[in-house]
Symmetry: C2
Subunit: 176 residues, 2 copies
């Protein structure tokens, strides 16, 4: 008897995963984009590798596939729901999500969010594994930095304390 | 400037990941084994796939490679440190870790821990990705079950509230 609610007992954080498209590619305008993700994990100690699973339909997935690069921001517990709504529930194909936010551009081209962000790492993709509805990107941490003191937001905190919703495109979304 | 302590801001749970070896294999005795893992995550919604990263030197890694199967137990916040010490810091090659514990054997052959366990899922490996010090096992959830009410133990809780240590073989272990 398979009860998939069992999978909801897995613990996750809340992260911003970002990538970019340069304007030097023919026919394409330079763009930044990012999305909220819960499934960011360190998967090897030496070399330091991280993995993230993103829905195949998401714009950030498309940008990472094209650039081979992404950055991760660990969001603080204080991050406003409005920010999570923008990056978690709007599509970057029609909205310039970084507009009005404090950020820098890493040497790799990815954005480094300075608002709401406790820690940041910049990642070069080494493998992209296609898994049904999602792509699992595995990559090497090429730069990492602690940006601020604070408590990282967990999915548990976001959902229970802040009353936040989960996106249907998340790998851990279960339809009833 | 790369500061790998930034990776410690990622949120993890605490899980028991188990596998087995049947006695029908020539020259091998039937065995169960399990280890504490922090990097269990759902990586696809449809089909429901989970991933776990385990150190290449660990006995459980060897058993999963041979059987193609593993089970995951989501441990309760109430799990005693003694249990985590047994499964997290002792090697199953020399210790029969399941001895004295309450468990059942799944139809697949993996053990289903009944003690300290809030939720359980049984997984068939679809891909094993070698990543330096670790193997990332990706697999299909073939059975899943909620076993008890309670709060899942997070790594944060284990480390800060219970005063637990981290194993040097964990993917998120950083040597200073």
């Amino acid at each position: 008897m398979t009860d998939l609610t069992a999978l909801q007992y897995i613990s996750y954080g809340i992260y911003l995963v970002s990538s970019f498209r340069t304007s030097t590619e023919p026919g394409a305008q330079g763009r930044l984009n990012g999305q909220i993700a819960t499934t960011v994990f360190q998967v090897s100690a030496e070399p330091p590798l991280v993995a993230v699973s993103l829905n195949c339909q998401n714009f950030t997935n498309e940008l990472i596939k094209a650039s081979g690069k992404f950055s991760v921001s660990v969001l603080s517990q204080e991050t406003p729901l409005k920010f999570i709504g923008l990056f978690g529930f709007k599509c970057g194909r029609s909205v310039e999500k970084f507009s009005g936010l404090k950020y820098e551009i890493n040497p790799s081209g990815t954005p480094k969010l300075l608002d709401h962000s406790l820690a940041h790492f910049d990642v070069e993709v080494t493998q992209a594994v296609e898994l049904g509805t999602h792509t699992l990107f595995i990559g090497k941490v090429v730069d990492s930095q602690v940006l601020a003191e604070g408590i990282p937001m967990t999915y548990e905190y976001y959902h229970k304390i802040k009353g936040g919703l989960i996106q249907q495109n998340a790998p851990s979304y279960i339809k009833f």
